[in-house]
Amino acid sequence: MGQPQQNIALTTPAFQGVNTEDSPLTQDVTFALRANNAVIDVYGRIGARKGFFTEAKSIDLTNVTSYSGIYTSTKVNIGSISHSEGLDVICVAEVEYYGSVTDTAVATERFLCQLQNTELVALTHSAGALASINTIEGKLAQIVNFAGQYFVFVQGQDAIEVAGTSATLLKDGAGFLPPQDDTGNLTDGITGGVACSAYGRLWISGVGGNFQEIWYSDLGDARVWYDGKAVPTEPLNTAGGLDVSQYWPSGRDSIKNIKAHNNGLVVFGRNSILLYGNAQGDPAAIGGIFLQDAITGMGLVSRDAVVETGVDLLFVDDSGVRSLGRTMQEQSVPVGDITANVRSDITSKIAGTADKSSITLAYWPSEALIVCNFSSEGYAYAIDARRPSGTGGSRITTWTEVLFDRSVYYEEGNDTYVLLGGKAGDSICRYVGQVDAGETPYLFAYESTPLSFGDSVRQKFPKKVNVTTIGSTQPTNATVSWGFGGKLEYSKAITADANAPSFWGESQWGKDLYGSAAVSLGRHRVNTKGSGAYVSVGVDATIEGGEFSIQELNLQLLIGRVY
């Protein structure tokens, strides 16, 4: 006598993201073994990420006189990118070009550009500014906003001041006062590549290659720096310096970045962190800035692998993404381990990344995403910023085909923008839509952990898999896979198209399903075969214009004997 099929519903599968740390057999369906190019969508479902849509392709180099010898540009890559309220987006554009018709070798020049509408417009550079920005990779420049202006810091080169559409060296500005004392100038210019704009000052490290010292500017004045002379040039100058060399808890370290947090400064070393309090006002005054805490065993892998979320300061340590806020609160590293669910993977990834500067951390509030990007690998961890998973670690998905180095989030008007600095000639992209730059589709992939359904000793005979998707009405080519023993052996392609939205009077009851205006549910059935104690299910979808999320998986299966 035939055994009735049992329906096992896997509701909102993988909404807790990927978990490669806990034993797969003990995990429920809310964790995934794989969730690539996926995010936890606004309804808590696993779904495809948005695309890296090309925002600006063209570049106007009219203001760059040295560009006259360029015959044609081939690619525009974007290094650092920044935005400030009331100002255009600014970035470092790396233009690859041929110098003539017969040239076969590609030359590269870097310029500071503004994004005006959808076009990059190179700034007017002074010779010094052009030389400074053209020295290092674009992604290594640090752009900060201070007092309504952009300042670009390039390690080993003089800092650049951007006023309107003009880029000049900071030291060439009127009234520039380099760090000095009675012995003379301690440095001719501000040549550090680690910058922080906070509390009305610029805080710079790396000046003269010294990563033990932080120079901070005068209040509200980026051109006036430390003056240790007996009689200061400017009597009201409150600029100064901070030597942290004696405070590293791990003995010796070097400053990787400086962040403002909780009325203090967080000075990240490679293996330790210094927490300075009361950084406001005059830091040097009595009762001014002081070392509040020093954390050892944690550090920052690269300058841009840190991001503020408003309440937390997240950073990439050798062991993954950490939350400093939580660390400070709990004084315990593991609890503050944001990427605890993929710790081994991300640790291995970090260790395996030769170019640590390619590791960045970005926070996109509108997407509730924290993106830990390994741009040199084209790989990223997308961390859900809304709530943690049941393990305490954040909900994490992974991204591949990541084609940007740096990104910036900003709000303008009623819109929010996540702009990405394309590194493969894609210029500036935007995290929007469901297609990557160049109209390139990308592959969403989900794979469940091996499922025993609470009875790991009985055979399961899946007969059908129903996949309920949420997506746009645009058909999405997908593949439903299943298998046993942790291996997806079988697959069937489907076209995940949702029913068009039904409106009263336009469709008939019972024929159409109701849905939202642009996104609709779709249920897709796949007949399956095979048997095994552990059943794995996967769904891959090629995203090329339509949204795609998995609402639910239903497995109809027969439960066999004890095997």
Binding site: Y226, G228, T238, D243, Y276, P283, A284, A285, I286, Q292
Partner: protein, 369 residues
């Protein structure tokens, strides 16, 4: 022949008359001479000294011979003479002894010791004086120099003395800063942190105070140096005074020594002189007998003189009478000669008139001749 020849004849006549009468006078003179020689021989015999003799109790008779030779009947008192010589010799010896003694006194060991000691004292005093004057000069130079260098020196020393404390404070400050997490903070208003500035201000205040104290101290030292210069000057002057006193003492001592020597010499000389005088007196006394004999001879001589006087008086009378006779002869010869001469001359003078020209006689004679 003229008047000249007459004159010549006149002369020759006169002369021939004169020569003829002179020969007569000459012959008369020879007679007178012989008479007077005879008289003189007589007178010599009559007035010749007969000698005399004196006899006293002092010795044998003393006589004076007719030739005037005297034989003293007594010699010197040899015993007295010997005693006087001995006394003189002794006096001389005593003078020599006195000289020796004076010489001995002149090399008075105590005086020499005193002199040596005084010399040493003088040397010491001179050294001290030189030192005092040197110190006075040094202090005076120092007191006359500006105080800036000394102020800096005092300030440096004061700061060096305070340095451990300052270092300790700084170390404590640094430790406190480090403990407070404020190490390494540098501000433009302070150079370092505010705490550094507070400490720097405190230290600057201390340095300021030290500098002012150094100035005061330097000024005070200058005053002290001036006072010490004055003191050393006074010491030097005292040394000079002492030297002067010593010199005066030495001078007085030398004077006294010289006076002593002179007194001793005088004494010794007096003694020697007395002794010599005594010797000489003794020797003189040895001739006292002879003197007395001579005195007796003088008494005898009075008698002899009276006898001689008688002799001479008689001889004088005889001589006067003999000479008177001769003189009378001479006078008569002289009157005869003068009368002859005058007669001849008056003859010849009549040969010339009153004007000098030949008188008739003269003419006659001229014509004859």
């Amino acid at each position: 022949m003229a008047k000249g020849l007459w004159d010549t004849v006149q002369g020759v006549g006169a002369a021939a008359g004169g020569i003829a009468y002179a020969d007569k006078l000459h012959e008369a003179g020879k007679g007178y001479q012989t008479d007077m020689g005879t008289l003189a021989g007589q007178l010599q015999t009559d007035s010749a000294f007969k000698g005399y003799g004196v006899t006293t109790g002092l010795g044998e008779q003393s006589t004076v011979g007719s030739d005037g030779s005297m034989t003293l009947g007594i010699g010197r008192d040899n015993a007295q003479n010997t005693a006087g010589g001995l006394g003189y010799t002794n006096g001389m010896a005593n003078m020599a002894n006195a000289g020796t003694m004076m010489g001995s006194n002149s090399t008075n060991p105590y005086a020499a010791q005193a002199q040596t000691g005084m010399g040493n004292a003088m040397t010491g005093v001179a050294g001290m004086q030189a030192g005092a004057f040197g110190a006075q000069n040094q202090f005076m130079q120092q007191s006359m120099q500006g105080t800036a260098g000394r102020e800096q020196e005092i300030y440096n020393r004061a700061m060096a003395m305070q340095q451990p404390g300052l270092n300790q404070q700084r170390a404590q400050g640094n430790a406190q800063e480090f403990a407070a997490g404020r190490g390494g903070v540098m501000g433009s208003q302070f150079g370092g942190s505010g705490e550094d500035a507070a400490m720097a201000r405190a230290q600057a205040g201390a340095m300021n105070q030290a500098s002012f104290q150094a100035m005061g101290q330097a000024s005070q030292e200058q005053m002290q140096q001036a006072q010490m210069a004055n003191m050393y000057g006074q010491q030097g002057m005292a040394g000079a005074g002492f030297q002067q006193g010593n010199a005066m003492g030495m001078h007085q001592m030398g004077m006294q020594n010289a006076q002593l020597g002179q007194s001793a010499a005088q004494g010794m000389a007096g003694i020697g002189a007395q002794q010599a005088q005594m010797g000489m007196a003794g020797q003189n006394n040895s001739y006292l007998g002879m003197q007395n004999e001579l005195n007796a001879m003088q008494v005898g001589q009075n008698g002899a003189s009276m006898a001689q006087t008688g002799q001479l008086t008689g001889a004088g009378y005889a001589a006067q009478l003999g000479l008177g006779g001769i003189q009378t002869a001479v006078n008569s010869d002289k009157a005869a000669s003068e009368l002859y001469g005058n007669t001849l001359a008056s003859i010849m003078n009549n040969a010339n008139d009153s004007t000098g020209n030949s008188s008739w006689l003269g003419g006659l004679m001229t014509s004859i001749f």
